[in-house]
Amino acid sequence: MVGGDVAAVEVRDVVVRYGDTTAVKGVSLSAQRGRVLALLGHNGAGKTSLLQVCEGFRRPDAGTARILGLDPVAEHDALMPRLGIMLQSGGVYPWAAAGEILRLFASFAANPLSVDMLLDRLGLRKVEKTRFRRLSGGEQQRLSLAVALVGRPELVFLDEPTAGMDTEARHTTWQLIEELRADGVSVLLTTHLLDEAERLADDVVIMRSGEVAATGTPAELTAAAGIDLLEVRADPGLDLVGLRARHEVTEKSPGEYSITGALDTRALADVLAWFATADAHVTAVSSRRRTLEDVYLSLTSQHSNTVGVAI
């Protein structure tokens, strides 16, 4: 059965502990079919632990996980043929050649993709006969990705898929992930690369210290943060006292005012209204929209726990 109504991933109140450390502190999230969900966070934010629960390698200490409607531990054997899993590193016999590994995993599947096509698409043709331990880090990653895809899975879990890849391989991988989504494959990936999440993800879950810090589409996350820099060119030397009461404003150079902080539509109107009441001659207004990176950094920095982003 392909498709169906159940979510690709449904995680409820999952807790993962290692001894006294709690790596995942009651996380809930759901990933819809045919979409790309990026789990974003620093190292140690709990992304990989959560993924391990979804892959059935770890039983959660509390909470539940349902993958394609199945319990990843109890229904492991029924689930595995439907999943494509790319581990963060290793996972391959060091003395086996790239082509041998891919053919082995292809032979486990009922309707495998063409091994030759994958070798060509992922730039592995020239290392087909090279043993795994002699492959570069990027080549090992691409082979791992090929192994995850070869069984034509419904859902793929990619743990830091482009780590160690050069720019060209990274773009190839991104195109491939976009093609997966276009073909109806659901994708859950972890990353700490903002441009990766921004480019690929339909949905983003930002994790911090084992908890979900924010969820939403990249547009929602950045829109909620609004504009964070407004630059206004007007008459030099305006008396800013009234505006300073409500906003962070500086005159960087004569006549160049910058207003910083998370600015929503109301705040923008308020700033421009102030220039109007000051009878200023505004000659230019420019704004910088917050990027996912700004949102991420403000959410995940250890010192700033009070950020006005909540979806």
């Binding site: 996972g91 016999y93 086996a96 032979s107 486990f108 599947a109 009922a110 309707n111 276009a182 494959v185």
Partner: protein, 253 residues
């Protein structure tokens, strides 16, 4: 929706295909570690020629080859099913290979079956080779009790495999390697291969499976006699206990 290149079409190949391909890979990788295989054969070969053809050790019989060759065959079974397998599996775990296989359509029983089958194939080849070398230097075995000899060999291999997989599951790979080598050396010294095993009575067969297996091989191949019941019981106990423990403790990670 037009079916693209990656349109999902999941499914598991037949278990026969999966296990067959996995056995092939296990054997291919074993052959590739050729030097390790030769080395594993080197010790038994040295013991066979050294203790079998010279009077380097005192044996409780004048038929030196008749005593030594069956013991060497038993030693090889232990070396492959226990020492070799524990070390390989320990490293496969540390490389993440077992985890990766666990995330594939290959099931846990499937992997254990493939590993066991690959070990049995190796054992058959090694026993044939060492038996041939023994024959060439003058060993003349009895073939009347070949079936019981094969039976105790399968039991011994199963027990060793179970213990190997158990060690590889509960210890770090370096510790597994150390422990497996130590046990090999201990068994080689006290296991009744180069000289007679310490006489511990029936309890000895349960403590020293190598001695039990070697004795059973001698009884059958040297004397054409049947295998004593305590030896059957000892080896069967080892097989059941360690395989059960391994099945419970075996981890993909």
């Amino acid at each position: 929706m037009s079916a693209g290149t990656f349109a999902p079409a999941p499914g598991r190949a037949s278990m026969r295909t999966i296990i067959g391909k996995q056995i092939r890979m296990e054997l291919l990788l074993t052959a590739r570690r050729g030097e390790a295989v030769v080395l594993a054969m080197g010790v038994p070969l040295l013991v066979l020629l050294g203790a079998g053809l010279t009077h380097a050790t005192n044996l409780p019989t004048d038929d030196r080859l008749g005593f030594v060759v069956p013991g060497v065959l038993a030693l090889t079974v232990m070396s492959t099913a226990f020492t070799g397998q524990a070390i390989t599996t320990g490293y496969e775990r540390s490389y993440g290979v077992l985890k990766r296989l666990g995330a594939s359509p290959l099931t846990r029983p499937g992997l254990l079956l493939a590993k066991t089958a690959a070990v049995l194939v190796q054992i058959v080849l090694q026993v044939l080779f060492l038996g041939l070398v023994g024959f060439l230097v003058g060993w003349r075995p009895q073939f009347g009790e070949l079936l019981p000899a094969a039976g105790v060999t399968v039991l011994a291999a199963a027990g060793y495999s179970g213990l190997a997989l158990l060690l590889a599951s509960v210890l770090k790979p370096e510790t597994t390697t150390g422990a497996a080598t130590l046990i090999y050396v201990l068994m080689l010294s006290a296991g009744g291969i180069m000289f007679a095993a310490p006489d511990l009575g029936t309890a000895g067969w349960f403590l020293l499976p190598l001695a039990a297996h070697a004795q059973a091989m001698r009884d059958t191949l040297m004397n054409g006699a049947s295998v004593p019941l305590p030896i059957w019981l000892a080896l069967a106990t080892w097989a059941v206990v360690w395989l059960t423990a391994a099945a419970r403790k075996f981890r993909w990670e």
